[in-house]
């Protein structure tokens, strides 16, 4: 079994100490760093590339959400917060892992067991370097709504001004990234840029209809139709024939 590298991010030293104490019972979780605010956290995460972060939501100047938004791809996250259940409900629907402070041992065990399984599963696969693999997740804060989206569930990405609109599991959310950037970051074996405006997930293709002059129309499983530009159609055929 692989060990799991963790970073603790909380503005209160005692809160970090408390997490350390709790983690003593889970020797495969190794604390590789501690940060007292979001900026330190971002720095540590980029340098150490941990498997897991324990993240406080309310911190000075930048919140835990701001931290996640600043990352190209988020490691596995467990939120630790003193907020009550009601306040956390906004992102509970997205099945985020969170623990309420002070943290109960049972809750800690349950959450860590789940997260451990997920991380081990990911680690068992060959590593994909520099791209966001389909098992990774992206964090999106769209207004008050927070989404933690598994990349493999994204069916379709649309360019909307400076934003990219991600469609996943019947929902959609705006991410402040350009389509060009996402094209580079996302796993090219499953994501394909069909035209200037759109990227599709190849796993969501239902049917491909050839149009005149060699261009294509693709029907996605969620009923959406996209037209592949002439220039991209050749690339697409090349990709699909492999």
């Amino acid at each position: 079994m692989h060990s799991i590298n963790c970073i603790l991010i909380d503005d209160e030293r005692l809160a970090r100490e408390e997490l350390r104490l709790l983690l003593q019972d889970f020797p495969d979780f190794i604390i590789v760093g501690e940060a007292a605010n979001a900026d330190e956290g971002i720095d540590l995460i980029t340098r150490l590339a941990p498997d897991l972060i324990f993240l406080d939501i309310q911190m000075p100047e930048k919140s835990g959400f701001d931290l996640l938004e600043a990352l190209d791809h988020a490691p596995q996250v467990i939120f630790t917060t003193a907020f009550d259940q009601y306040a956390i409900r906004a992102f509970e629907v997205n099945a985020l892992d969170y623990m309420l402070k002070p943290i109960r041992k049972e809750r800690m065990t349950k959450t860590l067991t789940k997260v451990r399984a997920e991380i081990q599963q990911q680690k068992a696969k060959p590593p994909t370097v520099a791209v966001v693999s389909k098992d990774r997740q992206v964090f999106i804060k769209d207004g008050d709504q927070c989404h933690f989206v598994k990349v493999s569930t994204i069916s379709f990405i649309q360019s909307v001004g400076n934003y990219a609109k991600l469609h996943f599991e019947g929902q959609s959310a705006l991410l402040h990234r350009s389509l060009n950037l996402l094209e580079q970051k996302f796993d090219p074996t499953i994501f394909f840029r069909v035209n200037r405006q759109e990227i599709i997930n190849l796993l969501f293709i239902e049917k491909i209809v050839p149009l005149f002059k060699g261009s294509l129309r693709i029907h996605l499983k969620d009923g959406r139709q996209v037209e592949v530009s002439e220039r991209r159609s050749a690339k697409f055929k090349e990709r699909m024939s492999i």
Binding site: E12, E17, Q58, P60, L100, K101
Partner: protein, 350 residues
């Protein structure tokens, strides 16, 4: 367009309308010789009486007689009744004489001699009723207003109480504090024991919060000290506290929770928003019979956002209700990247 009579005019018109009905009844009962003359006299009497009493109404309102105490009002009311009754008499004699040519075969001065006492007594009676009703109405109004103000004041105090409860039992403060205590139990048991006592006292003071409208600054300060001691345990070097309290301010009466509110705001919206934390300075001093409570913290107010929070709004209202214009609250950014909140209130000892 809908025309709505004010309560004053409803009373004015219905009162004199009743008197007029009585006069008409007597005229018919006495078989007044000329219906036209009778009607003319009645209308003129009605209009002149309303004019007289309305003049008094305008004068009383302008001079503020309706706000006087009974003792101060009494002589004015007596004089007013006599003067009004005299004017009533003069006007009515003239109306009656000119309007009743057919039945007065005598000279004007004979008519005056004949009717003056009778009309004067009627006048005194009517004007006394009017003046009495007018002032009684205003007494009732003032009573009701005082009741309302008292109710508002109590409500504000209650709101402040709830606000205090919410702020102190604020999940963020409480759960973070408990979480810190949990860590301290393992790392520094003595400190943990101290924290439990402080937390208990904070909880007790919010649960058993006194219903008194004033407490001594000394008591208020104790609560504040407990609170900042807990926060200091959590913030550690990120919070630097400085207390500058003039000894003569300690026995002064203050509104419960006023200083606590400023300190909580300073930590929550000031120090806690800064990565490096900051300094918190709590001051109390007296200048020229005025008590100044001052909280200065590192940070800057964001526009409109925190300066008008519910807590501060409530504090302002409570100050206004208790002290009127003699108390003052101000919160502002200083050029030194600091925020300064000041309460100025009359220095009062219990």
């Amino acid at each position: 367009m809908k025309f709505k009579l004010s309560p004053y005019w409803i009373c004015q018109l219905s009162g004199w309308g009743l008197a007029t009905a009585y006069w008409v009844y007597w005229m018919i009962y006495n078989q007044h010789p000329s219906l036209l003359e009778g009607a003319l006299i009645t209308i003129l009497t009605l209009v002149s009486s309303i004019g007289l009493t309305h003049s008094y109404y305008v004068l009383a309102k302008r001079k503020g007689w309706h706000l006087l105490s009974i003792r101060a009002l009494f002589p004015i009311a007596i004089i007013a009744i006599v003067v009004l009754a005299l004017l009533f008499t003069v006007i009515n004699i003239i109306i009656n004489y000119w309007g009743s040519n057919s039945c007065y075969q005598c000279s004007f001065w004979d008519a005056v001699a004949e009717a003056r006492l009778r009309i004067f007594i009627t006048g005194v009676r009517l004007m006394a009723i009017w003046v009495l009703a007018f002032h009684l109405y205003h007494y009732a109004q003032r009573g009701a207003k005082a009741e309302t103000e008292k109710a508002i004041l109590e409500n504000k105090a209650y709101e402040a109480q709830m606000e205090k409860l919410k702020a102190q039992l604020n999940p963020h403060f409480l759960f973070n504090a408990l979480n810190s205590v949990k860590a301290m139990i393992a790392l520094d048991p003595a400190k943990a024991r101290r924290a439990v006592v402080l937390l208990s006292d904070i909880l007790r003071s919010s649960l058993h919060a006194s219903k008194r409208s004033f407490i001594l600054l000394e008591e208020e300060l104790q609560q504040v000290k407990d609170y900042v001691e807990i926060e200091k345990m959590r913030f550690e070097e990120r919070l630097v506290i400085e207390l500058v309290i003039a000894p003569e301010s300690l026995p002064a009466k203050v509104l419960p929770w006023c200083l606590q509110l400023l300190v909580e705001n300073a930590i929550k919206h000031g120090i806690n928003q800064r990565k490096v934390g900051g300094r918190l300075r709590i001051e109390a001093y007296c200048v020229a019979k005025e008590l100044y409570l001052q909280v200065t913290n590192d940070g800057q107010l964001k526009k409109e956002e925190d300066s008008q929070g519910l807590g501060l709004q409530n504090l302002k209202e409570r100050l206004a209700l208790h002290y009127g214009k003699t108390a003052h609250f101000e919160i502002k950014n200083l050029a030194t990247e600091q925020v300064k909140a000041t309460i100025k209130m009359p220095l009062e000892y219990a």
